[in-house]
Symmetry: C2
Subunit: 191 residues, 2 copies
């Protein structure tokens, strides 16, 4: 019930890609260069990543599952909005001060363009979907649930962006988050 074992790993491709992105920028780096440095064939790349842009958002994708789990673990009798706030704090805790996603701190040297921003936003949208689904499950109006999801993730994105930009000496992400996430939830009547 098990075929050929994986000879390469996602991490090898990530590291090769990160090196090349820092050396020559994102746009000028081809998938073939990445796979050559990682010692695999070009096609193998697509066994590990759906596309080139996905290389940069691995941490963000991981944080989505953290968010999902944190929301699922919320007791049923807690206020939904408070649960969202707590879940975001839990998710933020996973991004320790030293481990900011590379793309957020090095986007200048990588030459990030609109395509990349859009790819990041698509990830953020997935987070919003998670929050929205949770709120709908708690009985909130569909429009309001979606609005809260998008608004709160928008605010959180601002916090993460600023946090990453502030460099290694920054305070924990939670500090930034609370400053902007709480007002949004407050506006929607957090209890």
């Amino acid at each position: 019930m098990a075929g050929r074992p994986r000879a390469s790993s996602q991490r090898m491709l990530e590291e090769a890609a990160s090196e090349l992105f820092l050396e020559q920028g994102y746009a000028k780096t081809t998938i073939e260069q990445i796979t050559r440095r990682a010692g695999v064939s070009r096609n193998t790349f697509f066994n590990y990543f759906p596309g080139k842009a996905d290389l940069l958002w691995v941490e963000l994708d991981a944080s989505r599952t953290v968010l999902t789990d944190a929301l699922a673990a919320a007791p049923a009798d807690t206020d939904p909005l408070a649960a969202v706030e707590a879940a975001l704090a839990t998710t933020a805790a996973a991004l320790t001060p030293g481990r900011a996603p590379l793309v957020l701190t090095q986007w200048r040297v990588m030459g990030i363009d609109e395509e990349l921003k859009a790819a990041g936003l698509a990830r953020a949208l997935a987070h919003a979907d998670v929050v929205e689904a949770f709120l709908v499950g708690r009985g909130l109006d569909a429009l309001v649930a979606r609005a809260i999801g998008l608004a709160v993730i928008g605010a959180a994105s601002a916090a993460v962006g600023r946090w990453a930009a502030d460099g290694p000496e920054r305070r924990p992400l939670g500090t930034y988050l609370q400053k902007v996430v709480h007002p949004v939830l407050e506006g929607f009547g957090i209890g």
Copy 2:
């Protein structure tokens, strides 16, 4: 001081593209098919649009300039957040009930995929940038300004999406907008 006049027009390409998108979906429609139906060469397409995805967001791009102008026209002594709310209402008024962007109402038959969502999000991000710049100009903290911009545009996106989905019998967009935009601004202390 005037060279060869334009033989084709942006509108012709938009209409040809809309037809094809509705007939066979977005992904299966090639730029060559669009230009052939419009009676021009493939290269001419790129004189009018930077890319294929831009065909669907013409109205949204236009609404960004409306938003920018509305914010610029706000009196200097009005509360910044109230000015944002008013400017969004003005922008919404331009999207009359009958004229929802085609992509928002027909995205099912067009087979919109992730790429399209991302392109729409990039447009929304541009709106958020406009709001952010306005608030920074009014002296708000950089992080807070960005958070408000992203949050309020997120909420507005939810409203527009729902409004479009509700079909021709829907109420005006302003109704949807106010329901979700006001809470966000309220949370940030709208005066």
